[in-house]
């Protein structure tokens, strides 16, 4: 098994190098046979990475502790699902997963039906193969997944209990799918530049890939937040930790890209900007990995510190310099075809402002994340840049972003006159202001909350009007029933209406964030048996403290009965779990969830006389956050769904080469 598993990695490396060289040679000599050979190599590469994955799954499932990776991340009593998902619990395994996804995507591109005969394919393949060479090199020489120990241990170290959660099964997978996904538009952009094909073919061709990568990145962040909320016992979901920032930055730049490509498609403009955005997004995925694996910054995301980060930094440097070189060498071609705007007030302009804010927000996150290093380099003091900084700096930028999001649907392409603007805006703006006044009257008086919810009201109204006007216009022409008109309107322009659903999802998320950040209540109290804790409308009766054993873990739990306004909601059991093979205990919180708010109960400590300390928290509107997240998924899927309409394969009009 040892030989077989390692062979998959080293043969994989050899195949990746071979395929890269043979495709490059095929491109330069215009020899289709060489290209085909390289493509065959790519299939073999997928076979290698799949076999490597299966080998590691097998070793993890059978608790083969003679392997360092299996010993470090699993133990024999671990449920099988967590034994298997331990594959991405450590450096080597997670990079193997990354490599597998990369080779999978590569095959999907190289053998895509839509791209048959397209001269971009060899170039795209070569760029992705360069990535594959790097990852197989890392797996072969730096983070080896199949390293044997000198002796065979009886038991493994076990999996960090924090990672034994459904959220953790899926969070890394989605994040990696997002990270790897961004390599595809990057490879297409580079191929287009190398081929001097500066139209929007690469954008149209990779549109779906970008949305899918964006969706996975969103899901990765959402699952991460959800995991933190239920598992860490801290009641929060986003801590602006360097690693969280690392996945948020490419999300912001990819979002900017998804919007600015529309200007290139419509007006043949912003070519340099779009290519720059995709280079930055791709580079940020590598930068994120550098941050996670290098240990240069303090993070709660516990990947062992190693020199692995350095390799990523070097690879990122090479990729960025290479990409910039290609971009610069085609600069004049890209610049020549620049178009023009018709008016200051137009959808085009609002997209530029949207890009400004999204990239500005990404820069602020980047600056805050690296500032400890900057500060240390400049004056020798490594300061902490944490939650208060990011909340203060990001809040105004992202709120402005929400405002642009609210206004944008009301603006026409080409030109919106002030008169039209007034006509379109007057009612939504008045309603938003009325909503804000109502909030103040009802007691919501924190400035951020009032402004934030005001902007969200505006957004909801403008988006509603967008749907309403579309249906009205359609009905005027087709006399369909409203629901049929809405359905047909939406499926005939999936990208637009999918995008609007995503906007609505973002609005819901923002509602949840504003509510939970501004109006959360918390208390920590030590109570005797029979006593109760009161917070807001809730009364929590402390009924019982007991202990039970599950496998090798000891669980201390409290029975608490929860009442709201005197009405019994039920009995709940917050727990503290002590693991047989892990030093740190973890809290299993009791969450009583409703649309209005979550009641979050943590059993914090206890004494011999039965007294127990509880942390009780009321988190308003948390469910809105999860509903919004769900809407994002629906919207993005709706936008990329292979529908009947508008699903035209873009025509390639670029340079023709003999090989494809």
């Amino acid at each position: 098994m040892f030989l077989f598993a390692n062979a998959t990695i080293y043969i994989g490396l050899a195949l990746a190098v071979y395929s890269l060289l043979i495709i490059t040679l095929g491109i330069s000599t215009k020899n289709q046979r060489l290209i085909n050979s390289g493509k065959g190599g790519m299939i073999a590469l997928l076979v290698c990475s799949s076999l490597a994955m299966m080998s590691l799954f097998y070793l993890l499932a059978t608790s083969s502790f003679q392997y360092e990776y299996v010993h470090d991340y699993t133990s024999s009593e671990l449920p099988i699902i967590y034994k298997l998902t331990a594959l991405w619990a450590g450096n080597a395994g997670s990079l193997l997963l990354w490599t597998f996804f990369l080779t999978l995507y590569m095959i999907m591109i190289a053998f895509s039906r839509k791209l048959k005969g397209n001269p971009m394919v060899p170039y795209v393949s070569a760029i992705l193969l360069a990535n594959a060479v790097f990852f197989f090199f890392i797996l072969g020489f730096v983070a080896k997944p199949f390293l044997l120990l000198d002796n065979v241990p009886i038991e493994g170290k076990g999996l960090n209990p924090m990672l034994q959660n459904p959220g953790m099964i899926i969070h890394p997978v989605t994040l990696y799918l997002g990270y790897v996904g961004l390599a595809i538009p990057f490879a297409f952009a580079m191929a287009a530049l190398i081929l001097k094909n500066v139209d929007d073919f690469w954008i149209k061709m990779t549109r779906r890939w970008t949305i899918i990568a964006w969706l996975f990145l969103s899901l990765g962040n959402i699952f991460g937040g959800q995991w933190a909320y239920v598992e860490l016992g801290w009641g929060g979901y986003w801590a602006w930790d360097p690693v969280e920032n690392a996945s948020f930055m490419p999300w912001l730049t990819a979002t900017a890209f998804l919007h600015s490509v529309m200007i290139q498609e419509r007006k043949n403009m912003l070519k340099i900007w779009n290519i720059s955005l995709i280079i930055v997004s791709y580079a940020l995925t590598l930068f994120g990995t550098f941050l996670v694996r290098s240990g240069v910054l303090t993070s709660v995301h516990a990947f062992a510190n190693s020199n692995l980060g350095l390799y990523f930094l070097i690879f990122m440097g090479v990729a960025v310099i290479g990409a910039l070189y290609v971009l610069m060498s085609r600069y004049n071609m890209l610049k020549r075809s620049a178009g023009e705007f018709n008016s200051f007030v137009s959808k085009e302009s609002s997209f530029l402002v949207n890009n400004l804010l999204l990239v500005g927000a990404a820069f602020a996150v980047f600056w805050g994340t690296i500032f400890p290093l900057v500060s240390e380099a400049v004056r020798g003091t490594k300061v902490t840049v944490g939650l208060p900084f990011f909340n203060k700096v990001e809040a105004p930028i992202l709120l402005s972003m929400m405002f642009v999001m609210a206004v944008c649907p009301m603006l026409a392409w080409q030109r919106s006159t002030v008169k039209n603007l007034k006509k379109n805006f007057m009612i939504p703006a008045i309603l938003a202001v009325l909503g804000m006044v109502l909030m103040v009257v009802l007691g919501i008086q924190k400035a951020w909350a009032v402004i934030g919810y005001g902007v969200i009201i505006l957004l909801l109204i403008t988006h509603f009007l967008e749907f309403y006007r579309g249906v009205k216009a359609r009905r005027k022409m087709t006399k369909e029933s409203p629901l049929v008109a809405l359905y047909r309107l939406m499926i005939r322009n999936r990208r637009r209406y999918g995008g609007y659903i995503v906007h609505l999802g973002i609005a819901f998320i923002a509602m949840g964030i504003i509510g939970s950040q501004n109006y959360d209540l918390e208390t920590m109290k030590t109570v005797s048996l029979g006593q109760s804790i009161e917070l807001k409308d809730y009364r929590i009766n402390y009924d019982r403290l007991d202990q039970k054993r599950e496998g090798i873990n000891d669980i201390v739990y409290a029975d608490v009965t929860v009442f709201r306004n005197g009405k019994k909601l039920g009995t709940y059991q917050p727990e503290k779990v002590f693991y047989g093979n892990w030093e740190q205990p973890s809290s299993e919180v009791a969450i009583i969830s409703s649309l209005k708010e979550d009641l979050y109960i943590v059993l914090s400590a206890w004494e011999d006389d039965g007294k127990a300390t509880f942390v009780v928290k009321v988190n308003p509107m948390m469910n809105w956050l999860w509903i919004g997240s769900f809407m994002i998924v629906i919207g993005a899927l709706f936008a990329v769904w292979n529908g009947k309409y508008g699903n035209v394969t873009p025509r390639y009009t670029g340079a023709r080469k003999e090989v494809s």
């Binding site: 303090t298 302009s349 530029l352 400004l356 300061v383 939650l387 208060p388 900084f389 006007r469 914090s604």
Partner: protein, 168 residues
């Protein structure tokens, strides 16, 4: 004399009660109250948890247990959050804070994002102006009265497209 004794006793009782209350207060202090959050969330816990002293769990971290007690003592003395902050920065330096100071070099952390954003906004304004000017006044423009017209045109063209696909 008697009244003096009474006053003395009363004062004693008051002091005793005060100290008793203070002990109770320290014992029962709500580490999750808003007042405590304002003070404690300023300081980063150095136990490796990556959290601030408000979030860090006193049951798993000895460092934060003592730190929290010290904070409560200072708050009981009437110190406000800025005074407590200055006290700790004086001893441990800026490293103990969860966010950089808004002075000296650290001010750049706060200011630079907005400076860059402002500069970029000016650049965007300049670019749009350039592009609008380039078009010139007489360029042909499809001017929509409102977004509704635009949608109507889109619907119409999609219907034409649909029909075309049916017959061609």
């Amino acid at each position: 004399m008697k009244s003096k004794i009474y006053i003395g006793l009363l004062m004693f009782a008051f002091i005793f009660l005060g100290s008793f209350l203070q002990v109770e207060a320290a014992k029962q202090y709500d580490y999750k109250s808003a007042e405590f959050k304002a003070v404690a969330s300023q300081f980063a816990c150095t136990c490796g948890c990556g959290q601030d002293h408000y979030e860090c769990d006193p049951n798993t971290c000895n460092l934060t247990t003592d730190f929290k007690k010290d904070l409560v003592e200072m708050m009981n003395k009437g110190w406000d959050k800025d005074k407590i902050r200055a006290y700790y920065v004086n001893i441990y330096g800026e490293e103990i804070l969860t966010a950089p100071e808004k002075s000296g070099f650290s001010l750049t952390a706060w200011v630079l994002p907005f400076v860059v954003l402002g500069a970029a906004a000016l650049a965007v304004l300049f670019i749009i102006r350039k592009w609008v000017k380039k078009r010139g006044p007489e360029g042909p423009v499809t001017e929509y009265e409102n977004t509704e017209d635009e949608i109507e045109e889109e619907i119409l063209s999609s219907m034409i497209d649909e029909e075309r696909k049916k017959y061609l």
